[in-house]
Symmetry: none
DNA sequence: GCTGATCTTGACGAATCCTTGACGCCTGTT
DNA sequence: AACAGGCGTCAAGGATTCGTCAAGATCAGC
């Protein structure tokens, strides 16, 4: 369960947030002032902190700064103050987001999801996986059975265009123009040669490809 | 240098943002519509994308969704629309932050800093080890069999760029521009000479390197 | 101004990659 | 049944890129 700490000195708002967040499946703890917030943050691991800036005991940005000395937990700031100095100060103190009251609950929840999404699994890369091979577009890498597959520059470019358009049909002209340049729109030979090359390197059964599909007369298609 | 892509169809705003961001030390590229934005994002690695939702060709959230199929780059959305449905839709499509026009430049810059701070690789180990040698990025030191290896300044810079991007392909242009400067993008001779130098000093079998890998026609890659 | 280290430059085989054309298969058409 | 067009396959050559070396240019420290 995702643990969220809500810090606010307004009991009504605190209660409303608690109920809403719990209804959306979050595990909520609350605090009404800066000191107990910092204390609560040390008690058990948190996935996120929602922090009101107007606390009775401590300046809100001090809380963030204190927290940041030992934690990287995402902090979403609530504040009644619209001034941009306040926002800049809080964000530079270490906050990750800042919304002003009054705010929509659906917006709060969406921002919360965005923060959690980013902090979740930092080394989860955008890799496209099939049952036969995986393509890591960021690292520029193709693996199959855990082993690196070596692709030539042209092979890679072609695979890249297809993988960036999953399930979509990529026309021959589109492929030729993106890989070889707009002037090569009629060299469909290239496509046949390189598609065969890719299939030989990537498809378990070269003769019956399941991921690099030919659409006769039109183009090709990548299926994850 | 931090690379930022700004996408907006308003030339004035585009220009203003470009100037402001450049004045704050960012490396700015721009795009005026969704297709060229997606294309630009494939060209060279980006640290952040600032995206206007009101584009002439594509729906803004479609751009985010498309981008998210292969990239985790932080996206900050600009929009003239204050409605919370728009915000929720964009954030759930994969955006990381959302601010409405008109906005203060200092707030934009603060949110940008917050996003970059969070996406900065936190667990970049200062010491990278392979079975043949060890690189200490903090102490600026390379050891092999317990002994210090002397590297010239250029050798070190090149090794550093590669080691900071483990397993990732670093293009020739990227290497040349980070080590010698952007003007040297065609002096691929340098790369060959210095890569040979590094391999001679670091690889047990210079002829069959296992950590400093060549990707013919594209660049090089460091494998731990 | 000298010396040693470092960087640049050019040249050369070796390795890799791209292009090209030929051939056979399959499919749908005449 | 014959045919034509599109596709997959293969291999040879030609073109590009890579690794290597060494000589000259440049720089830093003394």
């Amino acid at each position: 369960m995702t643990a969220v700490l809500v810090v606010d000195d307004d009991p009504h708002l605190l209660r409303a947030l608690r109920i809403t967040l719990q209804a959306h499946g979050y595990d909520v703890t609350t605090a009404a002032d800066g000191h107990s917030a910092l204390l609560a943050a040390t008690q058990h691991p948190l996935a996120l902190v929602i922090l009101d800036l107007g606390l009775p005991d401590l300046d809100g940005t001090s809380v963030i700064r204190e927290l940041r000395t030992w934690s990287r937990v995402p902090v979403l700031v609530l504040s009644a103050r619209h001034g941009s100095e306040d926002k800049v100060e809080a964000l530079d103190a270490g906050a990750d987001d800042y919304i002003t009251k009054p705010f929509g609950l659906d917006e709060l929840l969406a921002r919360l999801r965005a923060l959690l999404r980013r902090s979740a699994d930092p080394d989860q890369e955008p890799v496209v996986t099939t049952d036969a091979f995986t393509v890591d577009l960021e690292k520029h890498r193709v693996t199959r059975d855990g082993q690196d597959i070596r692709l030539t520059p042209t092979e890679w470019k072609m695979l890249e265009v297809l993988v960036r358009n999953p399930e979509k049909l990529v026309t021959q002209q589109q492929l030729l123009s993106e890989v070889w340049g707009p002037a090569y729109a009629k060299e469909t030979n290239y496509l046949r040669v390189y598609m065969a090359q890719l299939r030989r390197k990537l498809e378990p059964e070269t003769a019956a490809p399941r991921h690099l599909i030919t659409e006769a007369g039109i183009g090709y298609r990548f299926l994850p």
